[in-house]
Structure formats: structure tokens, C-alpha cells
Assembly symmetry: C3
Homo-oligomer: 203 residues x 3
């Protein structure tokens, strides 16, 4: 079970890093800068969560996130021409990672003794703030708040977890259901172009 | 007294959230994204302060800030056409909130044992960093450092508090004077179009 | 020895603040806003490091960073016309400060009991995140990841320190060598226009 979760974590980190590296490359970042943006995309959400929880940022405990982000950079460098054709694969990885990141954020926050609503907020931060910081660094208006259902998918997954906890399901099953909810909401939102309505300005 | 302060806190949170939601809507954010920007505008300054103080962020202790920001979103959605006519009301609420936020930031920092100059810095961060982060997310150059007297009003209020503490005034009175100073400086700056001079570039 | 280090710290703070103030003035910031951007440029990297380490931000312990940044603002105001001719002086100061900031970040992180690779990351954050946050606030794509060798110079200096620690050199000498490495890499990169290659996008 741990192996499966670690695998999902690496897949998500890889996909998040790829998205950061690709968007940075479109803005003329150098290799090193693109690597940093990829890394921040992958670990940024969890880092904000850990700073809010007053915990040691998770990536300071083992170098694997730096290594996986490095592999993502290598991948983009070597397979530059094919990366665009792998769009769907990255999207699946990204959705898997998102589901996992949300659950990790929720479980860690509950472990720290906070109530469920704080945990759902932290799960959402874990899943979506990496992408938000990425877009801030590359000087774009954050995608996560404008297109498809992204940040909201994290909230929905968190609510699914809250419901599961009120049953007698084993916690591993509850976590799986919640992560799967995030995953499925994302897939459906993208496949059927479902978005939260744009808030019309007054002008 | 506590009720009056809570009321000011809610009015300020509401006005800060409205400003975030309106600016986000002008950038095609969806409802959920606009809500997040409104919320970050309202709690961002205090969150940075609490992270610098190594304290648990204030909004993790009770959900009222999330609820008030939600009401602000509802308000913008329902009264879209009238929001612009309420400009002056929002401005008053914003100035009240600013005064309160600055004092809360100063008092909390002094409670943590830091000297007065750190407290004034923290009061200024509490009052102005929410708006700065808002402008960073919507991809604009921060208004708080360019127009009218905003961040500087926080500093002036903090200095008023420092002066009051050197008298024998009861602390509630000192706090009221300081918050009123922030409020009045803001009102006067906007009414008479007083700005800190722009720093002219070289060349 | 302490005096020499303090001097380097002030020179670096001054040069970092000048860079923030000048870039802010090009964006029509007012005096106070330019001061804040200068200050954040100077202390931003160390502040992020201290928040990640769960330490009290270094600038909260003494007001010297605020004073040096204020002197930088005064300097720009008074010598506006000559500032551009001092480009090379500022560049030298900046490179000295960068070397020092990297070492301070590494030593502090090792003191907190983290392994060497975390310390190198923290040294790089200390040296480069101030400039990154500066560029985010003034709404530009961060220079540190696009031009010359900046963030990477921090990593190279960190690696030099790691190598030195494996010899029997006194720690002051190791620190000097590492800071000098950062300094020299920066000088050479700028003098000979050496950059990390831009990551080509796929389009």
C-alpha cells in the first residue's frame, strides 16, 4: 500500500514539475530557472500548508522531490518534441497527483489536531497553491482559478472524505474514495469542458 | 466593547473581500477563484504576520472569515449592478478595517514580546499585505504602494499608538486613537488626493 | 573578522535594496512603496529561509536592515542622476552580498541540524528569493532565472563549501572560499555574458 501511495506521489510530483517546466520554457527561463519553477509547482502547495501548520516542510526530510523534478527537466530536454503528444498522460498523472496531494494535506492537518473544515482548506491549498505560485512566477493570471474545475475539485474531494469519515469505512478506503473523487471530478470537468461560471464584472 | 471590535473586524473583512472579488471579476476569474482572491485579500496580511511571528494563523481558529468572505461573494453576485454605487460605503468599511487590522497586528506582536518598531512593521504588514498579495495574484502592480496613502497610513497609526503608550492613557483608548488615526489619514488622503510622491526613475 | 562580515552584510543589503528601489521607481511606485520593495529585496530571501526553518526572521532582531534600506532610498533620491554611473559599484556590492547571504543561509541551516543538501537549497533561497519576490511585486518575470548565472552561482558556492568541509580547513576559511566562489562565478558570468541556456519551448 505504501508503495502504491509513493508511486502516486512521484507521478504527481513529476506531472506538476512538467507543467511548471513547460510554462517556464514558454517564458524564456533558462534550464535552472525552469527547474526551480517545476520544483516550486510540485512542492509549493505542500510547503505553504506546512508553514501554516508550523511544521517542517515535507521536502526538507528527503531529497526525492528534488530528484523527481530533475528527472522531469531531463525528460523535457530529451523528449522536447514528443512532450506535447503526451498531454493526456501528463493530465492523468496530474489528476492522480492532485487527488493524492489533497488527501495528504487533509490527513496531516487532522493529525495536527485541527477541525475538518481547516483540513479541507489545507487539502485545497496543498493541491492548488503550487500551480498558483507557478503562474505568479511566470507572470500570468493563475489558471487554477479560471479554467476547468481545479481548486474546487480539491474542496469536493475533501467533502467526500468528510462524508466517508461519518461512516464506519476503514480510513484507507475513505482516503481512496476521496482521492478518486478529486480525480474523477477533474477528468469529467476537462472532458466535458465544465467550468465554474466566470464572475461578471460590473464595468 | 468586544462586540464593537468584532463588528469592525467583520466590516473590514467584508470590505477587503469585496475589493478582492471585484478586482478578480475584472480579470475573468470564476466564482470560486474570485472567492479565494477575496479571502486572501481579507486574511493575507494577518496570515503573513502570524507566519513571521511563528503563531497559528488566526483564521484557522474559527471559520468566521471564510463565512464573511462568502457573504461578500454573494453580495457581489446579487447586487452586481449596485456595487459600484456603494463605492463610498466600501471605502469607509475598508478604512475602518484597516485601522483595526493595524492595531490587532501591533498588539499581537507586542504580546509576543517584540519591541515597538517590530510591532509597527507587523501592523503595517497586517493592514497592507492582503492588498499586495491580491494585486500579485490578479497580475497587477500593487496599488497599495502607488496610490493615495495606504501602507504609510498604517505606519502613521502605529506611531500614534507608540506616542499614546508613553502617556498614561488606558490601553483601549490608545488603541482607539491609533485606529482612528489610520482611518482619518486614509479619509483625508483620498478626499484631498494626497499621495506620497512618485519616485522618479533616473535617465 | 565579525566587523568585516557585518560590513559585507551591510554592503549586500544596500546593493539589494538599491536594485529594488530602482526597479520600483521605473514602475511609478511612490517613495514609501519603493522603500518597501527595496527592503523586501534585501531581506526577502533570508525571511523565506527563516520561515522554512521555523526560526524567527533575522530582521526582527535588530533594525539595521530597515535603516540600511532607508539609506539606500535616500541615496537614490539624492544621487538620482549619478546612480546609473555607479552600476559597476552596485554590481560588486551585490555580488559581495550574494556570496555572504549564501554562506549565512548554509551555516544557519546546518546549525538547525539539517543535512548539507538542504543547506545548499537554503543558501540558494537566501541569495536569490529576494530578487525573485522583487520581480513578482513589480510584475516582471524574475530576472534571477533568466539572465547571467545568479541562482546557479549560489548552488555552485554551496557545493564549494561542501567540498571544503571534507578537508581539514578551518570553517572561517571554508566560508570565505565558498563566498568567494559565488562572487567570482557572478563576476565571470556577467563579464563574459555566460548564461545557462534558455529552455526551448515545444510550441
Amino acid at each position: 500500500m505504501i508503495d502504491f501511495i509513493t508511486l502516486c506521489d512521484y507521478a504527481g510530483t513529476f506531472a506538476f514539475a512538467i507543467s511548471g517546466i513547460r510554462l517556464a520554457s514558454a517564458k524564456q527561463f533558462d534550464w535552472f530557472g525552469a527547474y526551480v519553477v517545476g520544483l516550486i509547482t510540485a512542492v509549493g502547495g505542500g510547503t505553504v500548508r506546512d508553514m501554516l501548520l508550523n511544521a517542517t516542510p515535507f521536502w526538507m526530510e528527503q531529497p526525492s522531490y528534488f530528484i523527481v523534478s530533475g528527472l522531469a527537466l531531463l525528460f523535457v530536454l530529451i523528449f522536447r518534441k514528443y512532450v506535447i503528444h503526451l498531454k493526456n498522460t501528463f493530465f492523468i498523472f496530474d489528476a492522480i497527483g492532485l487527488g493524492l496531494f489533497v488527501i495528504v494535506g487533509i490527513v496531516k492537518t487532522l493529525d495536527f489536531g485541527f477541525p475538518m473544515w481547516v483540513a479541507i482548506v489545507m487539502g485545497t491549498i496543498t493541491g492548488s497553491f503550487g500551480g498558483m505560485i507557478r503562474d505568479i512566477i511566470i507572470n500570468e493570471v493563475p489558471l487554477v482559478f479560471r479554467k476547468d474545475i481545479y481548486a474546487l475539485a480539491c474542496v469536493i474531494g475533501g467533502m467526500a472524505y468528510m462524508l466517508c469519515l461519518q461512516t464506519n469505512l476503514p480510513s484507507a478506503i475513505s482516503q481512496f474514495i476521496a482521492a478518486a473523487t478529486v480525480f474523477i471530478v477533474r477528468i469529467i470537468a476537462v472532458k466535458y469542458h465544465i467550468s465554474v461560471p466566470v464572475l461578471k464584472g460590473e464595468e
